[in-house]
């Protein structure tokens, strides 16, 4: 295996260990809940960034796949015929198919038209959820709870086990996305982001590549939705509302879109902000808006991107300084 892959695995192992140890050190349920939200939203934002940051496709309707994962998983579990892993697989496959159908139409459009049509499909799915009350529960959401029968000795009805399960799934998904990010496919997507016409002239089938990443990102988003449904034991129409997609874009902007883990950092920051801001003020939308404004206008990129650029700039000035210092030393000796 290549050194880079081993390094990624090592980082993933450390991150997983930290995630698993944190609730042991600080056993308040509130921390665990907080972390599960970071995990689910972080996964949603990371999956969206496969489109936004890696491919240059700004989807405004990504939460549709989050909702699709949550609802199909919840419904399958409520039917009583499925185990948790089986229902997860079916929900993922179903969402992949949905993303394939919607994506086949969307990826033909460019820039703002792409954004709008993804938004339109999301609103369409949102209204289906609202109107198909018999199945989805309409604006009440999927009621009655989602059963979590034990499988392979894993009992997700225990809060601690559920948390550990979410953490493991999260890290595995991050590893998969990291592989996408570093694969030949990932670099082909960067070509498309930078200059799709040129990529086409270099033998890249731009539409097919875009569709591929659209389906992959949708599937990853549905995994986030499944974790959320497991955790809240339900699914709600808000999952498919445009504000959910908006929050995912917020997190990407907050954390950064060029550093791989930027969106997770954004999710963490947004959840933290949400948490404290709601404690201290009722005008929490206003405060969040101001923070975003400060970051967009002040840093002009997400915090992780800012940190990376800052480090790179520091390295180059140090190298330049070292180069200048060398001849000086020689002169002395």
């Amino acid at each position: 295996m290549r050194r880079e892959s081993l390094r990624d695995l090592f980082i993933a192992a450390v991150a997983l260990a930290v995630l698993l140890v944190l609730p042991v050190l600080f056993p308040q349920p509130a921390l665990r809940d907080f972390l599960v939200y970071v995990i689910a939203y972080g996964l949603l934002a990371m999956s969206l960034n496969l489109l936004v940051g890696l491919t240059g496709l700004v989807s405004f309707g990504h939460a549709a796949y989050f909702a699709s994962g949550a609802y199909s998983f919840g419904l399958l579990m409520q039917s009583g015929h499925f185990s948790v892993p089986m229902a997860m697989l079916c929900a993922l496959a179903g969402t992949a198919l949905l993303a394939l159908v919607i994506g086949a139409i969307c990826v033909r459009l460019k820039e703002i038209y792409f954004s709008f049509i993804t938004l339109a499909f999301q609103m369409f799915i949102h209204s289906i959820i609202l109107t198909w009350v018999d199945v989805t529960g309409g604006d009440q959401g999927l009621r009655g709870g989602i059963p979590r029968p034990a499988f392979l000795g894993i009992d997700l009805s225990q809060a601690g086990t559920l948390y550990a399960f979410c953490a493991v799934v999260f890290i595995v998904c991050l590893l998969i996305m990291r592989q996408v990010w570093q694969s030949p496919f990932g670099y082909t997507l960067r070509m498309i982001r930078d200059n799709p016409a040129r990529a086409n002239f270099l033998g890249v089938n731009v539409l097919r590549m875009k569709l591929g990443i659209f389906v992959l990102a949708g599937t990853m988003a549905s995994m986030a939705g499944i974790l959320m449904a497991l955790f809240v034991s339900g699914a709600y129409a808000e999952f498919a509302f445009w504000t959910m997609s908006g929050e995912a874009i917020f997190m990407i902007m907050l954390g950064g879109m060029q550093v791989f883990l930027g969106p997770v950092i954004g999710a963490f920051l947004l959840q933290t902000l949400n948490h404290y801001v709601t404690i201290y003020t009722e005008h929490h939308g206003l405060v969040l808006g101001l923070v975003i404004l400060a970051i967009v206008l002040g840093l002009r990129r997400g915090v992780a991107d800012y940190a990376r650029d800052w480090l790179a700039a520091r390295r180059t000035t140090r190298e330049a300084a070292a180069l200048e210092a060398k001849p000086a030393k020689k002169a002395v000796s």
């Binding site: 670099y187 960067r190 033998g203």
Partner: protein, 255 residues
């Protein structure tokens, strides 16, 4: 190799290509010249599959390319570089070249391996050395000098291992010295790779120095074609350039 027959293309009222018939034998080095707006770039856009001609045929190794997408044309073996270098700003020189080589190897959808693939490394190194870009391999494409950007643009096209290479003004925007260095590289490339090369160029000294055949376009139509010697003495060409490009007229008179 490449035989273009009766090509026509209009944009609204502008007829950018009028009944153009040109033949490019295998291994030839051909220059296309003409005043601004003569339809030179449009000609490249047509034969590279970027835009579709209104009528006419583009026979490449005996098969008609009309109606094929630029993707299919590249895969048949015709690649191009652009008048304004068309690059991937956020990729380094090496990454961009590697991505292009990987695409040529039809492995650009690979999900389970890591970039760069070991099978592309030697090829990329070879191309970088050929272009003299090895020292700048780790520079971001966006940060390259103008001349190096033009070189990288050509390098990306070369990664396609084309049989026919189209170069749209490889020396555009360069100073006199840089121009000659560039064209020298292009010339050696042509010799080394036994390509069929077609280049658009405004500098007459360069055109007369290196090309085997010159095609002159004006108002979208072929005004003249022949060896540099013939074109230099062609009265139509001299007349065409007198009004538009003093340099051409001078170059012609000096001869």
């Amino acid at each position: 190799m490449l035989d273009v027959q009766n090509l026509n293309k209009s944009f609204g009222g502008v007829q950018a290509t009028r009944d153009v018939s040109l033949n490019f034998p295998a291994g030839s080095l051909t220059a296309i010249i003409g005043p601004n707006g003569a339809g030179k770039t449009t000609f490249f856009n047509l034969i590279s599959g970027h835009i579709r001609p209104d009528s006419g045929r583009i026979l490449f190794e005996g098969r008609d390319l009309v109606g094929l997408s630029s993707l299919e044309v590249v895969r048949r073996g015709m690649a191009r570089a652009f008048q304004v270098a068309s690059l991937f700003p956020s990729l380094t020189v090496r990454e961009a070249m590697t991505a292009a080589v990987t695409s040529h190897q039809r492995r650009s959808a690979g999900l389970f391996s890591r970039f760069p693939l070991s099978g592309s490394r030697d090829r990329v190194q070879e191309l970088l050395e050929l272009l003299g870009l090895s020292a700048k391999a780790d520079v971001l494409s966006a940060n390259l000098s103008h001349g190096d950007q033009k070189l990288l643009d050509i390098g990306l096209a070369l990664a396609m291992e084309p049989k026919v290479l189209l170069l749209d003004e490889p020396t555009a925007g360069m100073g006199p010295d840089e121009r000659w260095r560039m064209i020298d590289k292009v010339h050696r490339l042509w010799q080394a790779k036994q390509l069929t090369m077609i280049f658009i160029e405004h500098d007459m000294d360069i055109v007369f120095k290196i090309s085997q055949t010159v095609h002159v376009l004006k108002y979208g139509a072929v005004l003249a074609q022949g060896t540099p010697e013939e074109i230099r003495r062609n009265q139509d060409v001299i007349d065409a350039y007198l009004g538009t490009d003093h340099h051409m007229a001078l170059a012609a008179e000096e001869a």
